[in-house]
């Protein structure tokens, strides 16, 4: 999952962001949980294994998409809203005539309406900012999006052969995330990209 980054000014001004910044990055369990989990997995009779497995992959995938959607929406709001008025959007220009299209996922994907809508908005911003990049970088980004397109198509084709594959569903979820990471990385060019004076 891509990390949303805020400038120092935003972190200092916004009390909520200050509180978020103060939260621990991770919380370690008080003990290593793996030995107990491993022992229970070994004890579980085969016919109980699916129940112990918890969420099915379709639910897990849907949950993953929901999380990605919220993250992308949050990122989109951050990069869409100027932090200091004109500077934030100074680098935005009209989307190029040949705007890039989002990755098309096959019949095995679980993209919700909210996700698709948010991704579309994010893609508009991505296409706008893409026009500001050096030509060589733009070409490489376009090639990378094509790489993700191909990965999604390959995974979809593989899922046709093995629809219940946990591996393939996991990689499909990662592909959603990589697509979004590409959009957010380009859409938020950072301080230097925003500092161009018009």
């Amino acid at each position: 999952m891509s990390t949303v980054r805020f400038g120092r000014d935003e972190r200092e001004r916004d009390p909520l962001l200050r509180q978020v910044a103060a939260l621990p990055q991770e919380i370690e369990p008080s003990r290593d949980l793996w030995p107990d989990i491993r022992a229970r997995l070994k004890q579980a009779p085969p016919d109980r294994a699916p129940a112990a497995g918890g969420l099915s992959w379709s639910w897990a995938l849907a949950a993953g998409v929901a999380v990605a959607s919220v993250s992308v929406l949050f990122t989109w709001m951050v990069v869409k809203t100027p932090a200091d008025g004109p500077a934030q959007m100074a680098g935005v220009t009209a989307a190029p005539a040949t705007a890039l299209q989002p990755v098309s996922y096959g019949g095995y994907s679980s993209l919700g309406a909210d996700y698709v809508r948010t991704r579309s908005q994010m893609l508009d911003l991505f296409n706008s900012r893409l026009a500001d990049l050096p030509e060589e970088t733009r070409s490489r980004v376009e090639a990378d999006l094509a790489t993700i397109h191909k990965a999604a198509a390959d995974i979809d084709a593989a899922l046709a052969a093995d629809p219940s594959s946990k591996l393939l569903n996991k990689l499909l979820l990662s592909t959603y995330q990589e697509e979004m990471r590409l959009y957010t990385t380009v859409a938020d060019p950072g301080e230097a990209g925003r500092n161009k004076r018009t």
């Binding site: 980054r5 980004v141 591996l167 060019p189």
Partner: protein, 296 residues
């Protein structure tokens, strides 16, 4: 009491009528021992090195008198910004900045095509470039590097810094880092020569992963790729639980049993085993990328 200094240079310092004006920068600002230093530049170079003085010093040139240079701050925070005249200009004027900072400074550096080089800075570092290459050294504080097409290189120094590198098509090289590393790319390759790792996470879509690492006794290593190959070599002795799976790629390990087909009707193969005393956990997933594990 904060002492505030602000210097805005918008006119040419060395201008001649016939030639393009150049701004020569040579400015200093007293700070504390651990200031946070924010630097942004569009094009050219940002070279940051540490020294033992509580002073931030900037030297360099900006090849355009229309470009605005800002250098301001106080004891705790310093801002260095280069602002080109327009985002749509066709001019390609480099700003070459050499910046000295106290060794304990933390950095937030952001560029478009300018390369970023950081040496000897022991505070936290957040380094981002669109197409510039980024080179940094990790000590004990967190280092985050993000690029789109630029290459990223992080060298360890024996410290325990947590390192995060994200690139889209740039290659990622990390050497000599121990502890925690997260490395991601879409098509860029990941080349990692690491020490003892407690957490190692590697993700690519089509980039290849080549990693050398020593597993900590409770280490966690995860690698994931769609079509890129994953090759990991572990320092001896290797003690860990391994979980390797590929949908259509091969799985080859120098230790443990042979990989088995998951199904006679599907191409997938998997390999799960415990090596030595276990303890660490290693998980590698690919779709069509090949997986190869070995010791060294």
């Amino acid at each position: 009491m904060n002492i505030r200094y602000a210097v805005i240079a918008t006119s040419a310092l060395l201008a001649t009528p016939a030639a393009q004006a150049v701004q020569n920068i040579d400015q200093s600002l007293p700070t504390g021992a651990t200031p946070s230093v924010e630097i942004s530049n569009v094009q050219g170079r940002v070279s940051v090195s540490a020294w033992d003085q509580p002073v931030v010093k900037v030297t360099g040139t900006i090849e355009n008198d229309k470009t605005e240079f800002e250098f301001s701050g106080d004891a705790g925070r310093v801002v260095i910004k280069v602002r080109p005249e327009s985002s749509k200009t066709d001019r390609h004027d480099d700003a070459l900045l050499d910046i000295k900072v106290p060794a304990g400074a933390s950095l937030d550096v952001n560029t478009v095509s300018a390369d970023i080089q950081v040496e000897g800075v022991r505070g936290a570092q957040q380094l981002e470039s669109v197409s510039g290459d980024v080179t940094a050294t990790a000590f004990d504080e967190e280092v985050e590097v993000q690029t789109i097409s630029g290459d990223a290189a992080v060298n360890g120094s024996g410290g325990k810094a947590r390192v995060e590198t994200e690139s889209v098509s740039g290659d990622v090289k990390v050497r000599g880092v121990s502890g925690e590393l997260q490395a991601k790319s879409v098509s860029g390759d990941l080349e990692l020569e690491l020490g003892t790792m407690t957490r190692l996470q590697m993700e690519t879509v089509s980039g290849n992963v080549r990693a050398d690492a020593i597993l900590a006794s409770d280490g966690r290593v995860e690698a994931e790729s769609v079509s890129g190959n994953v090759r990991i070599r572990f320092g001896k002795p290797v003690n860990g639980e391994f979980d390797l799976e590929s949908f259509s790629g091969s799985i080859d390990s120098c230790f443990g049993p042979k990989a088995e087909r998951k199904s006679k009707y599907a191409p997938g193969s998997e390999l799960r085993f415990t090596q030595g005393e276990g303890g660490a956990r290693v998980s590698v997933d690919t779709m069509s990328g090949n997986i190869k594990l070995c010791d060294m």
